[in-house]
Symmetry: C2
Subunit: 200 residues, 2 copies
Amino acid sequence: MTERKPSNQELRTRKDLLRAAGRLMKKGCKPTMDEVAAEAMVSRATAYRHFPRLDALLVEAPIDAAVADPVGLFANDPSDDAEARADRAEASLHEVVYQNEAQLRIMLANSIGRDMTDDTLPARQNRRLPLIEAALATSRHRFREDDYQRLCAALALIFGPESMVVFRDVLGFDAETARMVKSWAVRALVRAALEDAKSA
Amino acid sequence: MTERKPSNQELRTRKDLLRAAGRLMKKGCKPTMDEVAAEAMVSRATAYRHFPRLDALLVEAPIDAAVADPVGLFANDPSDDAEARADRAEASLHEVVYQNEAQLRIMLANSIGRDMTDDTLPARQNRRLPLIEAALATSRHRFREDDYQRLCAALALIFGPESMVVFRDVLGFDAETARMVKSWAVRALVRAALEDAKSA
DNA sequence: ATTTTAATGAGACTTTGGTCTCTTTACAAT
DNA sequence: ATTGTAAAGAGACCAAAGTCTCATTAAAAT
């Protein structure tokens, strides 16, 4: 237990660095540690003290567009139409992803390319599973537990920024076309999982 | 038309560089240009002459595991069970992807993170669509054209190395679990597309 | 108010990606 | 065999990532 409560000052500069990085990444190109430090009005050495690698900074940099809040999105929606809710969740994440394409690409590239034998880097944060689970919450009782887990995993392939990369770089689709395909796929998968439950 | 036939010498050193890069990447970590040049027994300057950026070299580096050949895989299989064929195609690509995980991660990171306003880098090559189309070839007549295109796009989300990244980095799944989820999802999507055709 | 401690600032230093120039070698045509 | 041309080699050079040390400032404790 070597836990130590970080001082206010530490938290403040840490936050400043993250916000600075986010601001610079919105402009579309990978910022330099010097640039981030300058933008945060902080010495370069200090930046490295808080984030030993530039990657760590970029991965944690906040998406300042309001990220879809799983709780908020379905707060006043007691519906149990799993298909519609999952689709709506995807639509909401879709917006965030395509609004922050440049920033997310940088994040993705840095987290994918990390040396796999190196566990000093922070794991990727996972915003999509809470969202998926919130969407399926009102109808979870209709799934077998295994089917539910499998469905969540399959939906995770569709929900994140990785699908944007496939659509844009591999297929050459624009955001709207991508959204249509995803909408269809999400509904098809939810329906299939429900079918599985019935026929079991 | 400033096309110029490259000399034998050029082709030889180019090939040597690519093979050297592939050899080094199999060891799992991104090689430096010096290392590649040394491995290819070539001067660093020469390496840069053939590949102006290290990225370009790594992206083009060959996956020496036999890449799933769409034609070969279904050469002696006249079956028109779209579900089974799509699943089998995915299984085959799954093997290649997980066998070459390290190398593919480097490739992916480099192609994702490229500056989008920069078109000097080679576009991503697309191995998955031919594979998907070969799988669906014998049953293509059962789909409406729009449904077919949509299905191919949806399957492309599941087939490539991007899904490996989601499974490993986001969900923490191993290769076998990933394969099971993908198998289910692929079959569910194909089935859904066929249903759409029937109810139209 | 003074002392102690932890965070910051400043800057030297190393490695790697990438560019550039100049020289040397290999190839091909005659 | 000689000569013109294009590729390869050698090395200087710059920018950015990352590490280190030491001085300076701000916060906290007494």
